[in-house]
Amino acid sequence: MRTSSLRFAPLAIALLLALVACSPNDATESTTTPLAEGSDACNVENLTLMKAGTLTLGADQPAYPPWFEDNDPANGKGYEGAVAAAVATEMGFESSQVTWVAVPFNKSFAPGRKDFDAYITQVSITPKRAEVVDFSAAYYNAAQALVTLKKSPFADATTVTELADAKLGAQIGSTSLTTIDEQIQPTQAASVYDSNNDAKSALQNGQIDGIVVDLPTAFYMTAVQIPDATIAGQFPPTSGEPEQFGMVLEKGSPLLPCLDQAITSLTSDGTLAELEQQWLADETNVPVFS
């Protein structure tokens, strides 16, 4: 035994050396230089991008309506698809200079270099998340809503307290789950699904009484996916602040000021409001839970 363990010592050392040799080359950290004021810094050729001259956008797959259409973020359809296209144009990119990559939500906040310049898939801006990534200026104010089957006893609820005994479901990673836990505080723990599609199956199976989703998705669900379901109501924003969707960027991304500039100008010239009209259903007549 003893001899054999010593015999393998050189081999072990060789292995170790090989390991050391393949240790990562000290990649130069992308230094974030603060933007010089002035329009030049945001010219396409001056932007620090993942791939020079190309805006790489990330979205989850599948990409659901009404945020995207036909599972193709690049077609500029659906609210987020249209916003992304408008932002890219505003920043000065030709449509041929925009590429899309599929990025699962869970990977969008992974440490290290990102494989996108900006990620857009209904990500809510929260202070805790903002410690890890950068968020763009908000492009949408989201309200959370409750979808139930029409025959459900909870379909007629008007107050949050009436929902206490409901078995509710939501998609993982959504702030809908926070709404359940903090606003409703139901007696039964919420079910948490990989996608709203799975939550939809559970609702139709009677495994849950209701799904909490953002209002536009609730409209899409009740209009297209589950005709025998209805929107019981929407939730008032917690602590008075509306929930907002923003694009996710790498922490310290040099692109952020230019992206924000584009979103801000699209907000102030009414483009975003127009796109909202075009792609998202009219949300004014949904009762708010008291």
Binding site: M1, R129, L177, S191, V192, D198, N205, G206, I208
Partner: protein, 294 residues
């Protein structure tokens, strides 16, 4: 007639219980000292070099903040631990069912005679099917599909269908393990049993199975380690078990430390099980080497 297996199976009352869980120094009793020193030294060197590579890498601070954040670990621990109880319930129930059902499938598959052909065929089709289909698909199809049938009396609980799926898939694996054990028992054992006047069934029950089952305990535990981890897949039905609870925390805070907490909980369960399996394998090996282990 009282205890036939005691006469036929000399391994039944083996006395040696001594075990060495981790033998750092190899097998020889005399080379222990020197071997331990070499083992310790080489272990220290290997792990220091690996640690140095990881800790000096340019991205390490980011990785540390994302995966090994002490505050996040403490923060997520209570919810993840509470969810772990769901996994424990699932695999405890599934394991009992699997042990019984798999034995039935294995015995059915081993039935001799043309009369039993339909049963044998069913057992073969069952094992082929459920070993071949990814567990997550079985969970999806049963968990969302069966309740959609809208049949009176059929449970709709995702917890229930999760356990059913785990049981179906792992029974297929374990049945094959049992079968291997049964076939490893030399035919002379059955012949001896028959010559003593035992029926075929009695021979199976009192002679073959006791030997077969004892031989397959290590691979069986191995499958159970797999099962314990796979309980996490039931999360796709909305059950908030360990990995899902960790995922919720991660999505909420954009910090993956909760996943590491979940991994640690699974390790706490599977490592003792793995060591116990090693111990059983080692004991079996020593018995055979000693020619019967008396």
């Amino acid at each position: 007639m009282t205890t036939p297996q005691a006469q036929l199976d000399p391994e039944a009352f083996s006395g040696s219980r001594r075990s060495r869980l981790l033998s750092f120094a190899g097998k020889g009793r005399h080379s222990g000292r020197r071997g331990a020193v070499v083992a310790t030294l080489s272990t220290i060197i290997v792990f220091s070099v690996l640690a140095a590579i990881v800790l000096t890498s340019p991205g390490w601070p980011k990785v540390q903040a994302a995966f090994f954040d002490w505050t996040a670990a403490k923060d997520s621990f209570p919810t993840v631990l509470r969810a772990f109880w769901i996994n424990i319930q699932m695999f405890l129930i599934a394991e009992v069912l699997i042990l019984i059902l798999a034995l039935v499938v294995a015995v059915v598959r081993g039935l001799k005679g043309p009369v039993f052909f339909p049963l044998r065929a069913m057992a073969i089709i069952y094992t082929d099917l459920f070993r071949g289909v990814p567990l997550i698909l079985v969970i999806y199809v049963l968990g969302f599909g069966m309740p959609a049938l809208d049949l009176q009396g059929l449970p709709i609980s995702p917890f229930f269908w999760g356990i059913v799926s785990l049981t179906l898939v792992y029974t297929a694996y374990v049945a094959e393990v049992y079968r291997a054990g049964i076939e490893s028992v030399h035919p002379s054992q059955m012949a001896a049993a028959r010559s003593l006047g035992l029926s075929r069934w009695q021979g199976l029950r009192f002679v073959v199975l006791p030997q077969a089952v004892r031989r397959v305990i290590p691979p069986l535990l191995n499958d159970f380690i797999g099962l314990q981890k796979d309980t996490a897949l039931v999360a796709v039905l909305g059950v908030v078990e360990t990995v899902r609870a960790a995922g919720i925390y991660a999505a909420d805070t954009f910090n993956y430390t909760s996943y590491v907490v979940a991994a640690a909980l699974f390790l706490l369960l599977t490592i003792p099980m793995a060591r116990f399996t090693d111990h059983l394998i080692e004991r079996g090996r020593r018995r055979r080497m000693a020619g019967g282990g008396r």
